[in-house]
């Protein structure tokens, strides 16, 4: 609680947090939606925002607001699965390769490099095509997670490599810490800002990728996500026909989501670095 209070003194954390809470509430609201997100012609079409439909309606006859609640929910699921799962893999692989070195390092980094050098997008498209019907929200997340860890594992590994050489590693060993606590207690704090910032870029990437896949029609277009919402709006020329509420909603939501994540990550990683925190406190007071 204390920590949260401290964090909330940073306006970026506060705003990011509030944004995220708002998005989470939106996502949660989807469970109470009066409309089925997949069905068409539930409301009159192409209505501008009004009291009845606060974000208007689209050409499919759906209420944009309620559709957006589903979209944000699903996109969050995709992004979180992709982000967290790939983080877990990246952290495990990075730590293992960096700390153990030797064969484990060679093999793991070989796999990571293999993933990195293949034009990832191409594979994504092919696998998305291969999975076809199986491109559910969860599977989309898993797929993105599968391709999203390699670079970050590499970065984490190199950080571990240099941390391994620092003297406090030995102090920790001398204090009787085993590999697990060494890694979690000594290295994790150093890598957390990195993990956070890669988490954010990974989530951003996942959301962007989902949008790209949607624009290419490679995910299930009926399931509302930020990407498919955008794709329908694009295909139905919402921009040129002046249905700005339709196209702007997913864009603004994407931006809000990423801004929130960005600020949260910046603020949290600053918080985790005592040097920076001290500086911040000093700066604020003088």
């Amino acid at each position: 609680m204390e920590i949260l209070r401290e964090l909330f003194r940073d306006y970026r954390f506060a705003v990011g947090f509030i944004f995220l809470v708002v998005l989470a509430i939106l996502a949660f609201l989807s469970f109470f939606s009066p409309y089925d997100p997949v069905r068409w012609l539930q409301v009159p079409r192409d209505l501008a925002p009004s009291r009845e439909h606060i974000l208007g309606t689209n050409s499919k006859g759906q209420d944009v607001f309620w559709e957006a609640t589903f979209a944000i929910r699903n996109s969050l699921i995709v992004a979180l699965i992709a982000g967290f799962l790939s983080r877990v893999v990246a952290v495990l692989v990075g730590f293992l390769a960096g700390y153990k070195g030797g064969l484990a390092d060679r093999v793991l980094m070989g796999v990571a490099d293999g993933l990195l050098v293949i034009p990832l997008f191409l594979i994504l498209v092919m696998v998305a095509m291969l999975l076809r019907d199986a491109m559910t929200i969860v599977n989309t997340g898993l797929l993105l997670a599968f391709f999203g860890w390699a670079w970050d594992a590499r970065t984490i590994r190199s950080q571990i490599l240099s941390l391994r050489e620092r003297e406090f590693t030995q102090t920790s060993i001398l204090s009787g810490n085993g590999t697990m606590s060494l890694v979690t207690k000594e290295y994790l704090p150093f890598t957390i800002p990195l993990i956070f910032s890669t988490l954010i870029s990974n989530i951003a990437w996942a959301i962007g990728m989902e949008i790209v896949l949607a624009i290419l029609g490679l995910v299930r277009l009926e399931i509302p996500t930020l990407g498919t919402m955008l794709q329908w709006a694009i295909s139905y020329q919402a921009m040129l026909l002046g249905y700005w509420w339709w196209i702007l909603t997913p864009i603004v939501l994407t931006i809000v989501l990423l801004v929130a994540l960005y600020w949260l990550s910046v603020s949290v990683s600053e918080y985790l670095d005592p040097r920076m925190r001290i500086q911040r406190i000093g700066v604020r007071e003088t």
Binding site: R106, I118, L122, L124, L130, G208, V212, T254, I255, V259
Partner: protein, 334 residues
Amino acid sequence: MRFVRDYLIPRLIQYVLVIFFGITAVFLIPRLTGQDPVLEVIAQIQTQGASLDPVAVKSLMESLRELYGLKGTLGEQYLTMWKRIFSLDFGPSLFQFPAPVSMLLRIYLPWTIGLFATSTILAWILGNILGGVAGYFSQKRWSKVLDAVIMLIRPIPHYIFGVILLILFAYLWAIFPAGGLMLGRKAVFNLRFVMTVLRYSFLPALTLVILGGAAWFQQMKLLVQNIKREDFVQYASAGGVKERILISRYVMRNAMLPQVTQLALVLGQVFSGVLMVEMVFSYPGMGLLLYRGVTRGDYNLVMGITVLSIFTITTAVLVLDLLYPLLDPRIRHR
């Protein structure tokens, strides 16, 4: 010599293995997607009005399989593929039969390199410089404003951003063309040619530079904010070293190192952004070529492009790994 034995040779083996597995994956995956390039062509011919009777279809399919080199088991095809790779001939494009893949590459590669390489490098330079300076002066007002603006721009999908630029600069204020590069096959390389190409590439490049640059900007800014707190920066700063020198030689140079490595790898991840840009601006590039190849089951084309790109990226990474000690004196090969 120990360097060769302990570092270079394992690294080279890794290089070869990565290429090998990458190519094998790219060989297998499209064959699993259920597309049959021959059927794809048959379907096209049917929509074209030709009435084929079943016997004819059968024989046509046979002869197409023969022509396309798709006869035989997967294993045989796999061998053929390696033979082709070693003879640097990827065979004909299946969907754009009989155009050889190598010819298609010759046509599109320069465009892609022209647009993509320049805009990536430009984005990299701009993003890093701005990010570096903004990170250094992160307490300043303008830096915060810039950060906010970029934060808002970065999440915009390439497609949307491209269309917005198109509407702004090719319609509302029509100073740039909406697409359709009119050079022709007899294009001569002269000033007009260059100007035309620049005019047509400007908006696509702008999209890539701004969106790409925004990502670099954010990364660089974070890096710089960390490096700014290192002892050597603090010391030099306390020692009255000029800010200009401090930013460029201390902060940026150190922050640049990870960015260099990433640049090489970004090459591998471009197709998505570039594809979208090519779509919006009808730009002749590899992204669309590849995408169509994938969706139409044009194995040869996909193979050609991916082999090329796997090879380039792997080599770039290898070269970078070998040269990295020159950039960062602290790194030793081990």
